[in-house]
Every structure is written in structure tokens, then in C-alpha cells.
Symmetry: C2
Subunit: 354 residues, 2 copies
Amino acid sequence: MKSKSALSVQPGVEAPDVINKKLKNRFQRRKDLEINEYIDGILQQNRSILSQAITLVESTLPAHEEKAQQILEQILSHSGKSLRIGITGVPGVGKSSFIEVLGQHILALGRKLAILAIDPTSQRSGGSILGDKTRMEELSRDKRCFIRPSPAGESLGGVARKTREIIILCEAFGFDTIFVETVGVGQSEVAVHSMVDFFLLLMLAGAGDELQGIKRGIMEMADLIAITKADGDNTSQASAAASEYKSALHLFPPTKSQWIPQVKTCSAIENTGVTEIWQALLDYEYLVKDNGYFSKNRSQQAHYWMHETIRANLLGSFYQKPELQGEMQKMEQLLREEKITSYQAAKLLLQQYQ
Amino acid sequence: MKSKSALSVQPGVEAPDVINKKLKNRFQRRKDLEINEYIDGILQQNRSILSQAITLVESTLPAHEEKAQQILEQILSHSGKSLRIGITGVPGVGKSSFIEVLGQHILALGRKLAILAIDPTSQRSGGSILGDKTRMEELSRDKRCFIRPSPAGESLGGVARKTREIIILCEAFGFDTIFVETVGVGQSEVAVHSMVDFFLLLMLAGAGDELQGIKRGIMEMADLIAITKADGDNTSQASAAASEYKSALHLFPPTKSQWIPQVKTCSAIENTGVTEIWQALLDYEYLVKDNGYFSKNRSQQAHYWMHETIRANLLGSFYQKPELQGEMQKMEQLLREEKITSYQAAKLLLQQYQ
């Protein structure tokens, strides 16, 4: 069905200034969407409006932020109905290839997939988007899949907050599967873990240098460890690694979810292991929805992020106070020289803050 | 050598009120020690004055706190020269028996040992002290060993701060080995880990229910895992457990100290394994003093606790504000009902705080 406006316009015959005016109008219309237009657009699965809403969420302008918060508040009740999966692993582990293969597998099953990224170091350039599209060639061409690079942000907390809000928008749109991928190496794993239902850790066979990038404690957060590149000459090494991780994991204390973390091998080249990994995810979903952990965990995550935002705000006010910078350095020097206790240093700084 | 005052006094012939007055004076003198008397007393290894100084550190009276801080400031340069060892494990693992045996081993080597405890749940009753003395019978009778129960405190942060300050006093006194034992189960492990040079985790053989008490992530902090009760029928099971943990630990990412965490078995009943564990500790000390990690870690810990104190103070002011309590509950309810985002809830609370 063509719309009225489309029928009333005959391209070809318009003068350039008319076209310019039209373009300008269209651009302005895009900028000036009303809150309910955003909401309706998202609920009606308009991808362009979803993208615009995400851009609004990512904006640091106070007016945009205000608008974004109103949209989120009204759309919140339509969100929450996806399976949120965190995927992490050091560079070189084959994360993009893995996501490419797993993504296609679940699209073929009829699911709708959104892929978001967390990278606190990203400065959000065009290159970042291009990078994502190049990394996952098939998925980026597939219209059932929505790929969005990491929002820019100065702090991990800011990036994480925006990613959480983008999840809400994507869920309201109808995506039933959300991948949250860590792009940066390091602290973002904990943030991702606190916003997903399932945490998938990709590892390479061989416990050598490739482990350097994984911080201690990350392994214990994993619901599933997938040993990648289990193909060709590497197959038996990958299987051996999987056995080792399996016996290691069973020594860990039980998880709160009552889920027993799994170890699988997979190959993006030979397209193996992905079916089993997806099945484990569904098993997990079944277990935690049945035992109540799924919703309990989501609720705890919401509380966690409220307190985390408060924490970041209160500490931010303190640490960003220009008057304290010099004093802070002085205290750190005294601490290094062991001329003052930690408590005394803190007390002196707090006295100057109040 | 008798002192003059001792010669001028003839007990037996004094009237009761004179004795009472003397006792009262002595008590007052103890209460009213000058700062330099505390310092001299500690440096001259007067155990009674050390105990009084610790009581001062533990006091919550502002005047006592002020005095304690002055003592700490002046004594700080005499501290730092011990090996600080954190010892943790779930109830039932045999922690007291282990400490009893390891303690006697190192006293026999000529070292001076102070045993402190962290227990954020302790309300500091006489029973607590009695408990410690009963738990470690031999050590509590040994004059080369100093045992002090956990300071009372409402928060883990408060207890941890006092324990850190008591470490300073004990080191200035001349104790060259400090055990910091976790008594409570749960969060105190992280606090202990942040104030010691070496973190020793006691585990039972068999990865069943006894693991319940250990939080995930604790195992990766361990510099040494000791499988306890490796005696009698349990010996082979303990050895098997040790092998399993060994292969599990080598899958973990490398430690910042470059130390490869060890797994040992031991028995308090048969007095086995303790020599090897102590040797591992000395090996560790040699390694980290040689590679610079020892002092680097201590400096980082001092910084950590400064920032931790600031954090606790800023958050404490927020969360203890009576006006916010009702609003906080309202926000938590809205979060549970998914009617508000975490960020919105935090923002509303912060607005009311400022």
C-alpha cells in the first residue's frame, strides 16, 4: 500500500530547491519525532525509528536525555521478553566468527537477533560501525538481525547504562535474543555479566599466553565455556582442553542459578558445536525459568544497577572535584612513603570535600 | 632490679581505702597513658600496653580515636616488617587446629606470631575472647604468641580498618608473622585478601556440600590451597582432591605476583604437611621480595583502603540519610514491578539527596 504523500510526489519533475527543502524537512522530521512516534515506531518494528531512538539514548545532550528517559519509561513494560546472552573472550579467540555462526543458526530457527557491544574504550567513529559490519559479514546483510556497535562513553558505567537502555529498546521492538558482546578487554566482563541472563566465555585450547587477557575471576562467572577453533589439527587439543576445564569447573562452588556450567568445543570453519551450545542455552533457560532464578536475577540486576549508578555519581562528584586533585596526589605520595595510614589520608580528603 | 616505688610500698600494712585508691590510680593511669607512653611501651615490647593500644584503636569514642590516630601516625615507620598471612576456610574445615599446628611450627623456628581475626558479625563479648583461647589451647598459653579476637564493628569496612591498624601496632611491637583469620563466612575474604601478603585457603577433600560456604571467586585469590584432615582413611581422598585442584589452578590466568598457586595436603592430628606449607610461604616471600611485587602490592593495598574508606564514607552518608529511606523503598518497589529503569530510580534518589 502506497501512502498518500508518496502518490502526490513526482520526483523527476521537481526543482533542486524543492528537493533540498524536502530533504531538509525529512531530516528535521527525523530529528523532531515526538515521544509517541518513537514508541509507536519501535512497537511497529520500524528499524529506522529504532536506530533513531538508540541514537537519542546515546546522546549526551540534556534535552535528548530527557526525551530518551521518557521513551524508556513508557516502553519498559514492552521489554524484558528476550534471552540476553553475554559473549566474551580475548582478542584472537574468534569471537566474531563464533557470533556469525551462532547467529545464523538461531536466525534459521526463526528467532530475532540483536547484537550489541560493550567497549568502554570506543570513541564511536564511523570506523567502529564499519568494523562490526565487516566482522560479521553474513549477519550484517541479514535483515532479521540488528547489529549496533558499542555506544561511546567516557566511563564503563556510562557505556553499560546506555547498553542496558538499548536492550530495552530492542526488546520492545521484538528481538527475542540479545547478544551483548565485550569488545574491549578487561573490566567490561563484570558489567556484561550484570546485564545478561547467560554468560558465555570463549577460550582457546592451550593454557598459555592466550590466557593473559582474561582476568582472574572471569572464569567462575561463565555459564558455558566454549573452546573455539576445534578443527583440523587442533581438534584433539581442543577436546583435551574441554576435559580439563570440565574437571576444573566441577571444583567450583555451585552457582546461585543451580545451573552446572558446561564446557563445549566448537568450530566456526567446520560449523560444529554450535547446535550443542544453543541447546545448552535453552536448557539453561528452561531450568532458571522453572526454578525462579531467571526473574530473580533480572530483578537483582536492576537493583544492582540502581545502586551502581548512585555509587558512580557520588564517587564521581568527589573524584572530579578540581580542588581535591592536588591534595589527592599529596596523600598518595604520603601513602607511598608510608608516612600516613590509609584511613588518615581518606579522612583528610573527606574533610576538604565537605 | 626493683623500682623505687616498689620499695617504698609495704602491702600488708595498708588500710583498705589506701589500697582502693591505689587501684583506682593504677586504673586511671592505664586509661590516661600519654601518646608517647603508648609508643614507648609498644616499642619496648610491653604486651599490656600493646593490648591497651589495641583497645584504644577499637574504641569508638572520638577522643580515643583521635589519640589512636596520633599513635598510629608516629608508629607507622616502625611497622611493615612482618609477613602478613590471610587464612580462610569454611567452618568445619579445621581452621583452628591448622593454625594451632602451623603456629607452633613457626614459633619453634624462632618467629614471633600475632593472630588476629576478622569477623564483621562479632559483637565483641567476653565469650569471643574465651572462644579464641579455647580454640587454640597451646598457642594461647605460649607467651611468644599474641592472640586477639576480631574488633567489634557494625560494618565490614570498620572491622577491616581496625584490623589493619592493629597489624601496624603488632608489627611495631616486633611480631614478624601476622595471621589474619576470617571467622565469619562470606564477604570478609575479600577484605582479608586486601590486607595480607599471602592468602591461604583451607579446603576439605570432596567437592560436595562443604563447598557451599565458599563464594565463587575466592578460590582464584588463593596463593595456596591446603587440603585439611589428610589423615587416616581420608588420606587418599585428600591426595586425589589435591591433584584435582592442582590441575584446576593451572587453568587459571597467571597471578600478578608471578607466583604459581600451590596445593598441599596437611593433617593437624598427624602433624603432617605443615613444614611444606611454611616452606611454600617462604618461597613465595623470596619470590615477591625479589621481583618487587611485595612492596608494590603493599602500596596498592594502602591506596585501595584509602579509596575504600572514601567510598564507604560517601555511600554511608547517602544510604544512612533518614529522609531517603522511604523513597528508597518506593524505588525498589517500582524496580521490582518494572515500572522504572535503574537509572531513573537512581537519578530520582540522587536529586532528593542534593
